[in-house]
Symmetry: C2
């Protein structure tokens, strides 16, 4: 009988930095609020679920003809097909030419894990990864853990207070980079499914090969089912099949069979014109609601006379956007007002609702006014 | 615009050997049958689902109070708790002493992946793995891919035609091995949940530390949801917490959030005494049915006058068991009779039903008689 632990040398893992949510949860202040949830929230402060999902879930659970056998390692074929058509459009040149494929993965994290494993095995020379700042915490670590050097870049210009996509294009073209896109919530950006993947169409049209992590969690409101796809675009079908066959081997070792429920619900919706229309409508409503919230935030800051221009709030699309605050202002909001927002001031606007909008805008106003007074201690920023 | 593929050097992956199912699928013979499915089959030849699962699934999909938020990385807490109690018993010394824990994983493959990653990182000296033959194809590759040397051992004694668990105990004790158990279908072995994990109780009572992959797919009939747990038993709570914290970091990179639906259904059943009783009853029925099938196979072979003793068929527990055929007999069944069974003759007895039992037993009889005639070419086996 062993007496010493074989785990003797295993220490408690260091907590990763950036556990804003954890600090928030430990905060006892009754006014505390968290504006950095990954998921879209309803006006009532719950994670959003498209109504058509609930209906479809119920219908599926009542269908005696369905079986619950293991999915193949590559996943649910009809789900992959429907999702790729959603991403690129049914008549996409790349789909017609049979050079687009995908592996059904356990969420977008699974898609990154799988893609990074592939790149490590088959792109041994490439060891540097450029990752957009807002994705670094979530996905950068996967690259880092596998031995890549991770460099950060930002498409948010804090001086001009706007997003500059040219930064991305310049990096990719000048450095001959292999692109690995992340489409975390198609349709929740502008409310228009096609518009939201325009960048992919551009890269396809330019003949690029790339990977893309496609998550269908947030735009359907199925967060707990790991519905992701690692999308592969190759120059031709032969190359595609080679890549997919290698990915299959990796997925076999990772999880062997991806989970089915979420994929089954989504496929039922995407393949039924009436349900599809309902879903699209629900996306539009969410996006309109978020735009309205942004308008209200801007208007309230205007009425409060908060110094600065706040047009950038409504100029950004999507659930998440930069408030355009500096680190001192963010610090004030977190420490003094118990409003938890990330250092880069990129918040989830769907977390703002009728119950908290006044407290939040007044907090922002206070933070900006206070740091105005301490301008002498800070490098003076150009007012726009 | 790039002209050459970045995937140029990526070949089609070699197909793994042992794709018995693939050969079966490509066989055009109308009489073909496959006796090596991983899952338990009904008499009608469909994957078995416990009736209480369907009821619970429906009930869950009608519950408006449930949310579908991301699960924490470690998974659904109540699911882990209930599953560990199922495995070790509520009053297990190890549970009381707070030195048992688990990570909710994407099926048993996910549990192996996670456990092997941990062992690679924290047991750098241990590089040899002993794996039971029947598990080699499924889980051995995970170890191999991560640089372990995989050695095979069998607890099936082909001479004595019986399973000899002492082989396992001797290996573990003599070689100071760290045990990594696989409990793929608790309850489907003897029909008695406690009886089926007696080996774990033994190792706990002896003070061993170990990992265990616990799958709840097969014993509930939820195959497509990846319901697994990587179970950790340590000598004390402090060691346990260290290991779990490191596993959390690995799981974050692998899939970040495990899938929920299957775990939610199972937890509802395990935590409700009435549903639990129904589930237990359904397990008993399955096991009784399999025992009946085995009796029938034995009786039919007896009536056919097939040479040899066939008592070992009914002496083995569980869905899967060894027929005790040699490689030439297996070959005959596959090639001539289109009855697909693995080389070691370990079949899934739930694949045998009223429709195919005559064809199968007649095939076995034919194979045995034919190889009897060719005894001169083979080492003579001792008749029992």
């Amino acid at each position: 009988m062993p007496t010493l632990s074989v785990f003797m040398d295993v220490p408690l893992a260091h907590k990763l930095e950036g556990s804003l949510l954890k600090t928030y949860k430990q905060d006892d202040c009754p006014n505390k609020m968290f504006l950095a949830y990954r998921v879209c929230m309803t006006n009532e402060g719950h994670p959003w679920v498209s109504l058509v999902v609930q209906k479809t879930r119920l219908q599926i659970s009542q269908d005696p003809s369905l079986n619950y056998e293991y999915l193949p390692t590559m996943g649910l074929k009809s789900f992959i097909q429907a999702s790729l058509e959603l991403l690129f459009g049914k008549h996409s040149q790349a789909i017609v030419e049979n050079r687009v494929g995908g592996v059904h993965t356990v969420g977008d994290s699974g898609a990154f894990q799988l893609g990074v494993q592939f790149l490590r095995a088959w792109h041994k020379d490439a060891r540097i990864v450029y990752i957009i700042s807002s994705q670094k915490e979530l996905h950068g670590l996967v690259f880092q853990d596998m031995g890549f050097t991770v460099c950060e870049y930002s498409i948010w210009d804090p001086k001009k207070l706007c997003v500059d996509p040219d930064i991305l294009l310049n990096v990719v073209e000048s450095k001959q980079i292999f692109p690995f896109f992340d489409i975390p919530c198609q349709g929740l950006y502008t409310g228009d499914l096609e518009e939201d993947t325009r960048i992919l169409q551009y890269f396809v049209s330019q003949g690029f090969e790339f990977f893309c992590s496609q998550s269908l969690s947030k735009n359907f409101g199925i967060y707990d089912e790991g519905v992701g796809i690692l999308v592969v675009v190759a120059v031709n079908n032969q190359q595609l099949l080679g890549v997919l066959s290698q990915l299959k081997g990796l997925a076999e070792a990772l999880w062997l069979n991806p989970p089915n429920t979420g994929a089954r619900i989504i496929t039922s919706i995407l393949c039924n014109p009436a349900l599809l229309a309902e879903w699209k409508q629900s996306l539009k409503e969410v996006v309109e609601n978020i735009m309205l919230t942004k308008e209200k935030v801007k208007e309230k800051l205007r009425l409060l006379g908060t110094p600065g221009s706040w047009g950038h709030i409504t100029e950004q699309s999507g659930t998440h956007g930069y408030l355009g605050l500096n680190s001192q202002q963010v610090e004030h909001l977190v420490r003094k007002k118990h409003i938890y927002i990330p250092k880069n001031s990129r918040i989830n606007f769907s977390c703002i609702n009728a119950n908290n909008i006044n407290y939040i805008t007044e907090g922002i106003n206070e933070a900006v006014l206070l740091t105005e007074g301490s301008e002498l201690c800070l490098p003076k920023e150009k007012k726009l």
